[in-house]
């Protein structure tokens, strides 16, 4: 059972549909109690970083931190991944989880912003092979749509280049994040979501 965190920003249908397609049951909730008890957590996110403020005010933020500490697999998508960093210059007063170092910033490029479309991911040299990207070749195409990007720091498992190089995905123990939208990235994206589900299944079996 995958618990999708709803914080009334954007659209959860596509993410839920992708998990259902992979044979997963899903529950959509904004209730901290349900988040705390989840077997696997997914935070989809689109839109403005300040919307994550609702996660703090509703108590979901604390519930997520507790679940992570308990070893619950947690996947953040797009703004959901950015929230795993310390913050974003998009909403400087809103705090992220600071699970990864640094803050997200607006693209510094002469190219058009937002960065919208299919772009390639490439693994960073890391000590541990990525669980999330297992079976996904370097230079695979995935779908992005965002104006702010996360820095390339420890824990970044793959990068993408759009005028500058930025974090495409992160991974540390049970915490995963993708700046791109796996639910909209065709077979490559479905493979990534399946990797997350497989990891979650292993965790709950243990």
């Amino acid at each position: 059972m995958i618990t999708l965190i709803d914080y009334k920003a954007g659209n959860l249908t596509s993410v839920r549909k992708a998990f259902n397609h992979l044979g997963q049951q899903t529950v959509v909730t904004g209730d901290p109690a349900l988040v705390r008890e989840a077997e696997a957590l997914v935070l989809p996110g689109v839109g403005h970083f300040c919307t994550t403020e609702r996660l703090a005010s509703s108590g979901v933020r604390d519930a997520v931190l507790e679940a992570i500490a308990r070893g619950v697999p947690f996947l953040g998508i797009c703004v959901g991944m950015q929230w795993q960093f310390a913050g974003s210059t998009e909403a400087p007063e809103t705090q992220g989880l600071a699970l990864f170092e640094g803050a997200c910033e607006r693209f510094r490029t002469s190219l058009k912003v937002p960065h919208v479309g299919w772009n390639q991911i490439r693994r960073t040299p890391a000590a541990e092979p990525s669980r999330l990207l297992a079976g996904v070749p370097d230079d695979s195409f995935v779908y992005f749509t965002h104006s702010y990007r996360a820095p390339v720091v420890a824990g970044v498992s793959a990068v993408t280049t759009y005028g500058e190089t930025f974090a495409a995905s992160v991974e540390r123990e049970n915490v995963f994040g993708t700046q791109f939208h796996p639910e909209k990235s065709g077979d490559t994206g479905l493979r990534i979501l399946k990797n997350f589900c497989d990891y979650a299944a292993e965790k709950s079996a243990r």
């Binding site: 689109v46 839109g47 919208v116 479309g117 390639q120 230079d139 065709g186």
Partner: protein, 266 residues
């Protein structure tokens, strides 16, 4: 190969009464198939995105067909945009709920521009496409138009002239929160004689958001032209894909040979 953003090829499904149709310059519609089947087929053969437009929802003054959207979205795992008859935040919400990733607004955006901001604030700019149907007009004598490519915006599937300049309206849509512009040349639509590259370039260079060129696709060369001379970020076509005139992989291979970055293999 260097990494980078690719140019998108978008397959468009013009839908009326639940069926995909195609006409020439917005009239003389013929049946082209089932939207869910065609969307799936296009995605499998390499379309980077699917757009479904309910082309008679506005003129019939009825809401868009939610069931068709839901059915089409069900097995689709590439970006999916839906437009036609979106008049309110509630209309947009219902479409997102049915599985759309983006909504395309046209007539309602002209009549009530605040709706662009309203939907963007709730669902994010990335979810809002402002569709512009434009028809070229002669340059006014003595005075050059702002863009150098004068074109007028039309509403309701090309039935009503608005008096708005296409380039100016694209700029305003961006400032109000649109995430992308879908620019259809009414002069070229359905002709298969090529996109309106000068108009596309004028709009693409006037805004800092992606511009999707539409209307006139008939050959691989036309796509090359619209990405090079037209400065388009994405190009959309309908009929050439439905009737299997063009193989998407072949089209992308041609673009790649011409130095245009595309998603391959797809």
């Amino acid at each position: 190969m260097t990494m980078g953003i690719t140019k998108r090829i978008i397959a468009c499904l013009d839908v009326t009464k639940g069926r995909v149709v195609k006409g020439v310059q917005f009239v003389d519609l013929v049946d082209a198939g089932d939207p869910a089947e065609l969307a799936h087929l296009h995605a499998a053969s390499g379309a980077d995105e699917i757009v479904l437009l309910d082309i008679t929802a506005t003129s019939d003054e009825r809401p868009i067909l939610i069931d068709v959207v839901r059915r089409t979205a069900r097995q689709l795992f590439v970006p999916f945009a839906v437009g036609g008859g979106v008049r309110s935040l509630d209309d947009a919400s219902a479409l997102f709920d049915a599985g759309a990733d983006k909504i395309s607004i046209n007539s309602a955006a002209i009549k009530t521009p605040a709706i662009i901001t309203e939907i963007a604030e709730r669902f994010g700019s990335q979810a809002v496409i402002v569709a512009i149907d434009a028809k070229r007009k002669p340059a006014p004598e003595g005075a050059a138009a702002a863009s150098g490519v004068p074109a007028e915006v039309y509403l309701a599937g090309g039935r009503i002239a608005t008096g708005h300049d296409a380039v100016e309206w694209a700029r305003e849509a961006e400032s109000r929160g649109a995430g992308e512009i879908l620019l259809t040349s009414m002069d070229c639509d359905g002709t298969r004689a090529g996109f309106d590259c000068p108009l596309t370039a004028a709009v693409a260079n006037a805004v800092n958001i992606p511009v999707i060129a539409s209307g006139g696709a008939g050959s691989g060369d036309h796509f090359v032209e619209v990405f090079k001379a037209g400065c388009a970020d994405a190009a959309l076509a309908a009929s050439i894909f439905h009737f299997g005139i063009h193989d998407l992989r072949e089209l992308k291979a041609q673009l790649q040979r011409e130095g245009i970055p595309v998603r391959l293999p797809c």
